[in-house]
């Protein structure tokens, strides 16, 4: 008797909740002609400060790399504040931790845009973190500045990319290899989107250049054992190894490489993820190998010495400068230039200014120019050879600053069907 009454009550609860559920229906469907407009921006810049959001992983596996980017952003903010701020307003950074967790990146981005009401956000490292942030920043019509070289094939009116896209890092690396008379190449990468995409592009361009790919191996990001894969490299005897391995997995790769008797003299490696900060951490003397970046600490440009000196004395600095942190440094100055050209912190006005005028910044890697159409920047291609001090001797540079081309539209060897499908999918 007693039981059945409680059953009835639970049925009542269920009915009630269903009713509530149904009553809350009624948002826009995909079939609606005009979807509800983006929520109104709550950014307030009427005072003498402007809030900017810095979003990087300060905890978790990516913290070791991303903390440097975060510190550089703070350094740039301090510099800009010391010289009068942006449009006369001092930057107030709001720091958030992405915690190496992609949904957390999305959550924090939304918090920065809607609760803190920041005028723009900066940071990220992995492609996953960028992909998590992208729908949020587009939904609220915010801005996100992404500072790391990546796999390209993307553009968004709400994201500015200050790292290299593939035609500014991967393609110059192959041009360099061609100039060295390389005939055979082995591809070794971590198993995630950047190496997979980079290698798909490498294979297409190498075919055009007449370089033969003699092998392709992947190991999961968090795995460090490369013994069996390196054994295949030994067997294939390539002229060069193209290394798209990311993070600490490189240490295992380098160890297996030297253990197998390979040397930079006979089988050199060209990397796209080993920079000044990583080279000394390989647990081995890696001198004689190469890396392809846009920025190196050894670059002789007018602004580089001051950048290096400032970074060395910045509290919590890692001591050496590197490409991703330099791109982060650029991103804040680029934002400053955009705002000052637009005369406003309004996102639409900034995007209009990017399209209408030439935005430049005298960066440590050289005078970079923004491409207002695809929101990437012109960058110089450089190949560095690692020396005994774990610095890079510049052995090759692109004839001019390379126009960013995320969809590789200017390269006839890239299949049009793929490009069209990707552009269509991106909307």
């Amino acid at each position: 008797m007693f039981k059945s009454r409680n059953r009835m009550m639970s049925v009542t609860v269920a009915a009630l909740t269903t009713g509530l559920l149904l009553s809350s229906c009624g948002g826009a469907t995909t079939k609606d002609a005009a979807p509800t407009a983006a929520p109104k921006s709550c950014v307030d810049t009427s005072g003498d400060t402007v809030k900017l959001g810095f979003l990087n992983s300060l905890t978790g596996g990516m913290a070791i790399s991303e903390k440097t980017v975060s510190k550089t952003l703070h350094m740039a903010a301090d510099e800009i504040n010391a010289s009068g701020g942006i449009l006369g307003k001092k930057i107030v950074p709001v720091q958030e931790d992405g915690a190496t967790d992609w949904p957390t990146f999305a959550e924090k981005e939304e918090k920065l845009l809607t609760k803190d009401c920041v005028a723009a956000t900066f940071g990220g490292w992995t492609s996953s973190s960028r992909k998590a942030v992208k729908p949020v920043v587009e939904k609220y019509n915010g801005l996100f500045f992404y500072p790391v070289q990546y796999e390209g094939l993307e553009s968004s009116k709400n994201i500015y990319y200050t790292g290299a896209t593939t035609n500014q890092q991967i393609i110059p690396a192959l041009d360099f290899l061609k100039s060295q008379g390389v005939k055979t190449l082995f591809l070794a990468g971590s198993d995630y989107v950047f190496p997979r995409t980079a290698n798909a592009i490498i294979k297409l361009y190498a075919a055009k250049l007449g370089i033969k790919i003699v092998g392709e191996e992947y190991v999961p990001l968090d795995k460090a054992d490369w013994t069996t894969q390196v054994a295949k490299i030994v067997k294939a005897k390539p002229d060069f190894i193209f290394n798209t391995i990311n993070g600490s997995s490189n240490v295992g790769f380098i160890k297996a490489y030297y253990d197998a008797g390979l040397t930079p003299k006979k089988t050199p490696i060209i990397s796209v993820s080993i920079a000044e900060e990583e080279a000394p951490a390989m647990g081995h003397d890696v001198s004689g190998n190469y890396a392809s970046w846009n920025y190196f600490e050894s670059l002789k440009t007018p602004t580089n010495p001051k950048f290096i000196a400032d970074w060395k004395k910045y509290p919590g600095s890692s001591g050496v400068t590197s490409d991703p942190m330099e791109a982060a440094y650029i991103s804040l100055y680029l934002y400053k230039a955009l705002v000052e050209k637009a005369g406003s912190f309004d996102v639409d006005k900034i995007n209009a200014a990017a399209k209408a005028s030439k935005i430049t910044f005298d960066a440590p890697e050289g005078m970079v120019t923004l491409d207002g159409e695809n929101h990437h920047i012109y960058k110089p291609g450089h190949i560095g050879k690692i020396n005994k001090q774990n610095q890079f001797d510049i052995v090759w540079e692109s004839p001019e600053f390379i126009k960013p081309d995320p969809y590789l539209k200017g390269y006839d060897w890239f299949p049009a069907a793929t490009r069209d499908a990707l552009v269509k999918a991106a909307g």
């Binding site: 809350s24 469907t29 983006a38 949904p103 959550e107 492609s127």
Partner: protein, 362 residues
């Protein structure tokens, strides 16, 4: 009088939680906080299942990420296909071959009905096969825990290693619509929250009814004296199997709702670390209590969000410290506070001291 009051307490609790989640929360919270709460509700659904298997059944399931992933990837695949439109293939697949057909196992997920069916059927099938093999062989204790944990690791590795079919480490993202509703619309996000909260309450009602039933008694008996249950003529393997399957379905539903809320699904959200994170909430809240796992999961989620806003970079230590303090000071979790309080209240009402034993075993 006291029995009557005690037996209607859970129902009152569920009603209070329903009121808080479905009426109060949407009224007072911003879109951002409501979306965060929706995410915690997904974790809470997993937690309710863990409460059933671990708290009542004594089986420490350390790999609920597996079932979370089943639901999440089913939903993710459907939403990805819905977002690219009729005949389209997901962006990440285009690069490898723009003209390739969609992999065969993706194709049925174009159908919303099939997807919803799979969110329930897939965990039932997988958990039944796994559970049957494990429990019939009488694998238990630490061996069982390690086995489930290993499964989560294995599945995460499998997904990471099959980037061409699953999106790998980067996962599935770039969703624009959820069963025809655009995700950009704040009203639709509220709808998704309401569905999630309702499902969570549904899970609680199911578990409450299970606890009240003969099955619930049998499950506790199996936890406390498995051999004796066997001598009495029951097969403990079947009892455990049912709890395991129910928990798997709850984790799967939680995973499925997580996708439209978080906007991205990658192995990181279901791997070994994530699976342990699910358990942390349950332990914090009180694993054997009806409301313990829910409260714990909501508290840990809330703590993670707010602590990390207060102390970016160091919040994880604060959360860890909180966990240690609660585990030492309140072994029954947060819920034991409420139970103690309720016991005292009930005792006061009838002018009698609460039975110590009852409070401890609840």
């Amino acid at each position: 009088m006291i029995t009557r009051l005690k037996s209607s307490l859970p129902l009152l609790g569920i009603a209070a939680l329903a009121l808080a989640l479905l009426v109060v929360a949407p009224a007072v919270l911003s879109d951002l906080r409501l979306n965060n709460l929706a995410k915690y509700c997904c974790w809470a659904m997993v937690a309710v299942g863990i409460g059933l298997t671990w708290g009542r059944g004594g089986m420490l399931v350390m790999g609920q990420g597996v079932f979370f992933a089943l639901g999440a990837y089913a939903m993710g695949m459907h939403m990805q296909l819905e977002s690219v439109g009729d005949g389209g293939i997901p962006t990440f697949m285009i690069l490898y071959d723009p003209l390739a057909p969609l992999p065969a196992f993706w194709e049925p997920f174009r159908s919303g009905v099939f997807t919803i069916a799979m969110i329930v059927v897939a965990p039932v099938v997988v958990a039944s096969i796994l559970g049957f093999a494990i429990f019939k062989r009488r694998v238990k204790g630490a061996y069982f825990a390690i086995l489930t944990q290993a499964l989560a690791v294995a599945l995460a590795t499998l997904i990471s290693g099959t980037i061409k079919y699953t999106g790998g480490d980067t996962g599935l993202s770039g969703f624009t619509s959820f069963f025809g509703y655009t995700l950009d619309d704040p009203l639709n996000r509220r709808l998704i929250f309401t569905i999630t909260a309702t499902l969570l309450i549904g899970c609680l009602v199911v578990v409450w009814q299970l606890y009240r039933s003969r099955f619930g008694e049998l499950l506790v008996a199996t936890r406390d004296a498995e051999e004796r249950v066997r001598f009495l003529g029951y097969d403990p393997a079947n009892v455990k199997l049912v709890a395991f399957v129910v928990a798997a379905v709850m984790a799967s539903i939680g995973g499925a709702m997580f996708v439209p809320i978080a906007g991205i699904m990658a192995p990181k959200s279901m791997d070994a670390a994530a699976s342990i994170f699910f358990i942390a909430g349950v332990a914090l809240g009180g694993r054997a209590a009806l409301f313990g796992p829910v409260l714990g999961a909501l508290a840990v989620g809330y703590g993670q969000s707010t602590l990390s806003e207060q102390w970016p970079g160091t919040w994880i230590y604060v959360l860890g410290l909180l966990f240690v303090v609660v585990t030492i000071a309140l072994p029954g979790g947060i819920a034991s506070l409420a139970t103690r309080g309720a016991g005292v209240m009930a005792g006061l009402l009838v002018g009698r001291r609460p039975s110590h034993r009852k409070a401890a075993s609840a």
